[in-house]
């Protein structure tokens, strides 16, 4: 196994760009990532592109205007984990010696879907009886609040924290601070969620250039960020009782990433977790062992997961504020963490961060916690 480093990273400001094609959303980000790596485009031997809604040959369409074709392009889809899946395929190919330099791109343009709740799969029995993604997470939230005696106001604190971080990120879709009252007064979506409990839909792209250790040395990479471990799994199909406050796929993935990395929750200095909805961030604190079961709100209220705390979570604003163009998210988390580990995260810098964890999971599919989950640990 070769060590793999992130040599270049870039993303655009996430937001709503209905007038832009997927191609024009993506190529400036790829260009910036390659320039950030300081290598010639010709040195990139393959591209791994994650997208959920980008359509056929999304990688080829984005790379065409840059003349970066000829090489193998692998387009990966795994719903919210599409970008994370592309990253893992690229990491693996370099770690095993197939390439010494590869591009990872995560991209999606949700404004092309016509707005509203994302479409479900037509033959999904949960969808057929009226389930939506907000409703699914809302049920998790309701059950969690019931079991742990949590109020809607306490849950809303996740959103307030996300916006506090997002306000410091010039690439976030939302850059405004909000109050608990703002959250309570926003439009109802699915009880206990108002709109501010839910990530926005939008468009975005994020890209990384990965290199082998030898290549990193060859190009004189000044601030390498290393991939410590990379994990992907799919959700188990469960037909009976399942505890919706214990995210099956992430809990299992966490065990695997700790085993693979030889690390544990105490080793993590900063994390990006998949806060598609407020409740999700709390469930993932517990799934990763950042706190004990039932203690997530206490951890949040202690300030430990805010910037300046013991383990800042979602310093870039998370999905709630940075935005969640589905296939772009996994790559965007890794770009944010690359900047954090390089000390380039500006006002939202986590001082002295050495080890970072990225987690994205999603894809509503009846009988599964989620369709896919991707977890990565980086270090400097």
């Amino acid at each position: 196994m070769h060590k793999v480093a992130i040599a270049g990273a870039a993303m655009c400001r996430f937001g709503r760009y209905p007038e832009k094609s997927v191609q024009d959303l993506g190529w400036p980000v790829v260009k910036a990532a390659v320039e950030n790596a300081g290598i010639a485009p010709k040195q990139i031997q393959s591209a791994y592109v994650g997208s959920a809604y980008g359509g056929r040959l999304v990688g080829q369409r984005v790379l065409r205007p840059l003349g970066m074709l000829g090489m193998p392009v692998v387009n990966c889809e795994n719903a919210c984990s599409s970008g994370g899946t592309a990253f893992r395929e690229a990491w693996h190919a370099i770690a095993q010696g197939q390439w010494d330099c590869a591009l990872v791109l995560g991209i999606d343009k949700l404004t092309a879907l016509g707005g509203g709740v994302l479409p479900g799969q037509p033959d999904d029995w949960d969808v057929n009886v009226g389930l939506t993604m907000p409703a699914l997470y809302a049920m998790r939230a309701g059950r969690y609040m019931h079991e742990h005696k949590i109020s809607a106001e306490q849950l809303a604190k996740v959103a307030v924290k996300a916006h506090k971080h997002g306000a410091l990120n010039p690439l976030a879709q939302y850059q405004n601070e909000i109050t608990l009252e703002d959250v309570a007064k926003a439009r109802a979506v699915a009880d206990p969620f108002t709109l501010l409990h839910c990530c926005p839909t939008g468009d975005g792209a994020a890209a990384l250039v990965l290199v082998s250790e030898d290549k990193a040395r060859e190009i004189g990479l000044a601030k390498p960020v290393w991939v410590v471990a990379s994990e992907l799994n799919s959700g188990r199909y469960m037909t009976g009782f399942r505890d919706m406050t214990t995210p099956e796929i992430t809990t299992r993935g966490a065990e695997e990433i700790w085993e693979m990395s030889g690390m544990g929750p105490d080793d993590i200095d900063v994390a990006e977790v998949h806060d598609a909805f407020t409740i999700a961030e709390l469930l993932y604190y517990e799934a990763f062992g950042f706190c004990q079961r039932g203690d997530a709100v206490a951890l949040l209220e202690s300030g430990a997961t805010s910037l300046g705390g013991r383990i800042p979570v979602n310093p870039g604003g998370g999905l709630l504020c940075r935005g969640h163009p589905v296939g772009a998210t996994g790559a965007a988390q890794l770009v944010e963490l690359t900047w954090q580990l390089r000390g380039e995260a500006g006002k939202r810098q986590v001082d002295g961060a050495k080890v970072a964890l990225a987690h994205c999971t999603g894809g509503g599919i009846a009988g599964l916690d989620h369709g896919a989950c991707s977890i990565n640990i980086l270090s400097r």
């Binding site: 709740v117 479409p119 029995w125 009886v129 009226g130 409703a135 309701g142 439009r187 109802a188 009782f241």
Partner: protein, 141 residues
């Protein structure tokens, strides 16, 4: 895909989950689960293959009508075509099978977590062209 069938009223009903409801000889309406003849697993909706032993010999399995309300939410923003608010829930039946379904109740007075609910089959709304949308659903027991 709605399981469209002609009724006496000459309009076709639309079912949320086609084939999810079966009518017993005594006229009782039950959820149609599948019971694997290979390993005994009970699964809803009735599958064509058993996820445990891969047997394709799956018999109709009229599921219990009673269960416990595990989780629910009142949906205010839905996909196109759904009238809001409505309540959706996960119910654990007495035999351990979990079912997602509409919960027939006032959205302002949803039954308590873990309370007893019972199966009900009927209309949950109308399509734009006036056809009834039929569904298995639960109500307070």
């Amino acid at each position: 895909m709605p399981d469209a069938r002609k009724t006496a009223d000459e309009f076709a009903e639309v079912w949320t989950v086609p084939g999810a409801v079966m009518t017993l000889a005594n006229g009782e309406q039950r959820l149609r689960g599948g019971k694997c003849q290979g390993c005994g697993a009970e699964i809803f909706p009735k599958p064509k293959v058993c996820l445990s032993c891969w047997s394709e010999d799956i018999a109709d399995d009229p599921l219990p009508t009673r269960g416990k309300l595990y989780a629910f939410t009142v949906v205010h923003v839905a996909r196109k075509g759904w009238r809001t608010p409505y309540v959706i829930a996960y119910v654990d039946l007495e035999n351990g099978v979990r079912v997602s379904a509409p919960l027939a109740c006032d959205p302002k007075a949803v039954p308590a977590y873990d309370s007893a609910v019972r199966l009900k089959v009927g209309e949950i709304g109308r399509t734009d062209d006036g056809r009834p949308i039929m569904s298995h659903q639960f109500e307070q027991a």
